[in-house]
Structure formats: C-alpha cells, structure tokens
C-alpha cells in the first residue's frame, strides 16, 4: 500500500517535468570550401537547450532545429536533426550540427538568413545569430526522464 502510494507520487512528480521548448543562442555559420575540386558549403549550427528541472535529467533527447521563413507560404524550410545523450538538471545541452551542402541546397538558407551568394563569396562566409523566434524553432520528438538521484546512486555501482 505504502509502496504503491510512493510510486504513484513519483509518477506524478516525474510527469510534471518541464521540457525545453526553445533554443538558446542559435547561431549558424556558413563557409564556402573546396572539396574534391568542387565548391561546397560548410554549415555549422550551434544552439543550446536548457533543462530547467531541478531534479530530473533528460536522457536521449532527440529532435530537430527547424528553420522557417515567416514570409514564405511554404513555411517549413529546413530541419537539422540532433540527439543529445543526457542533459542534467539546470544544465544546457549543446546542439552542434555540421553539414556540407551544395550551392543549390545552401542558397535558400542563405536567403533566409538575410544574405545572398555574392555577399557570402565576398565575405568568405557568414555567421548569424538567429534572434527571431519565428525563424527558428525547436522540435523535440523524443526523450526519457529520469530522477537525478537514481542516476547518481547508480553511478558508484557502475564503476565497480
């Protein structure tokens, strides 16, 4: 009876965990590079997601950073999937995505970020912090919640 009560309380407690819903400081860097005698574009996306829970760790967080063009009718432009193994309480999970694109693939992103091919080539790259929440969104598709106490108690045993 007591165990059932405690388990129910734990389930309710775990069910109340806050799930990150926005990206912290999303930044995109695009650089033209020569690869196998072909001009391609290196894209680096960095952002953070904060685990605001005091006692819940988020495990196997899967999702995508989605870039939108609010002015366009075709709203969803491009998605960058990511996976973070663990985000401990009060910690910021770091999203680091690196991809190589052809010119045709990269130009919609460059335009979305307010630049064009000429500027990109002249400046030998571009770097933008995306401050507009309408342009970039976080889409979490899966995660597991686990009590930090359970994780920490298990840790010394894992070492042995």
């Amino acid at each position: 009876m007591l165990t059932t009560g405690i388990l129910s309380a734990c389930l309710i407690f775990l069910g109340c965990a806050k799930i990150p819903d926005k990206l912290l400081s999303p930044t995109i860097k695009i650089e033209p590079v020569i690869k196998d005698n072909k001009e391609v574009y290196n894209l680096k996306l960095n952002a953070g997601i904060l685990n605001d829970n005091s006692d819940i760790a988020l495990m196997d967080v899967r999702g995508a950073v989605v870039l939108y063009d609010p002015a366009s009718k075709e709203t969803q432009r491009i998605t960058f999937p990511f996976e973070i193994p663990v985000i401990l309480p009060f910690e910021t999970g770091v999203i680091e995505i690196q991809k190589v694109y052809s010119e045709n693939e990269i130009m919609p992103i460059v335009t979305l970020l307010g630049s064009d091919k000429e500027k990109l080539i002249n400046d030998k790259g571009m770097e933008r912090s995306i401050l507009d929440d309408k342009k970039v969104k976080l889409d979490i598709s899966g995660y597991k919640k686990e009590s930090i106490l359970d994780i920490l108690k298990r840790k010394p045993d894992e070492k042995n």
Binding site: S54, F90, E91, K155
Partner: protein, 143 residues
C-alpha cells in the same frame, strides 16, 4: 437565545493542526537529528574524501521538504548542484577544496529544517489555542 455549540469545530481544528504540526516536526527533526549529523560526519572525515563527499552529496541532493531546489535558487546553490551532478555522473574525483560547496547545500538544508521546526511550533500553538477553546466550550455547554 440558544447558544451555538462550537466544540466540534474546535476539536476538528485542534486535531488537524496537531497532525500537521506532528508531521512537520517529524520531518524536520529527522533531518536535524539524523540527516544533518550524518552529512557533517562525512564532510569532516579525513580519509577517502572522494567517496565520503560523494555520499554526502547524494544525501544532500534529496532536498529537505522546506528546502527544495527550485529555479528561484541562488546561483551558488544551482552551481553547486550542476558541479557535483556532473562530477559524479562522469565519474570524476571530488577533491577536498570542494567541501565549501557541499557546506552551501548543507546550510540550505539546515535552513529548511529550521523553517520546518518553526512552522511546527506555529501549528502546535494553533492546536493549543483550539484545545483551550474546545475545553472552554465544553465547560460552558449546558448539561
């Protein structure tokens, strides 16, 4: 005019406040008498610092009922939690210099226990008042 008998209301209030006070007292004194001395003993140990500090932290990571770790906590508390969570999670050693951060969490727990104890006293006084009113009402009741 017929006098209304409030004794049942006083009795109910006295019992409820007494139960709340006893629960708060039990939780607070469990922390004061058992948990906090255990943590202090672990923190004052001279040997096997890493193991003892980790054990102390795991005890402190389970907060006292009146001292839950929330988003409104100071950076000192939050930073201590993220630091030790990371250290234990990644299996790194905790060196003796970090004792001060564990003491921050211990102080936080002690503040919670004192708040719990004071709240217990408040509820006990409320209960006492309700008992006095109850017996007074019973004495004044006709028959």
């Amino acid at each position: 005019m017929k006098k209304i008998d409030d004794s049942r209301l006083y009795l109910f209030s006295a019992i409820v406040t007494l139960i709340v006070g006893l629960i708060l007292g039990a939780v607070s004194y469990y922390s004061i008498l058992f948990v906090e001395p255990t943590v202090e003993r672990l923190l004052s140990s001279k040997g096997d610092i890493d193991k003892n500090y980790k054990e102390a932290y795991i005890i402190l990571r389970n907060p006292q009922i009146f001292a839950g770790y929330s988003n409104f906590d100071t950076d000192r508390v939050k930073n201590s939690l993220t630091f030790f969570d990371n250290k234990i999670f990644s299996g790194e050693k905790i060196d003796p210099d970090r004792k001060i951060y564990l003491e921050v969490l211990l102080d936080r727990r002690k503040e919670g226990s004192i708040l719990g104890r004071n709240t217990m006293v408040f509820f006990m006084l409320l209960s006492l008042v309700a008992w006095v009113l109850f017996f007074n009402e019973r004495k004044a009741a006709p028959g």
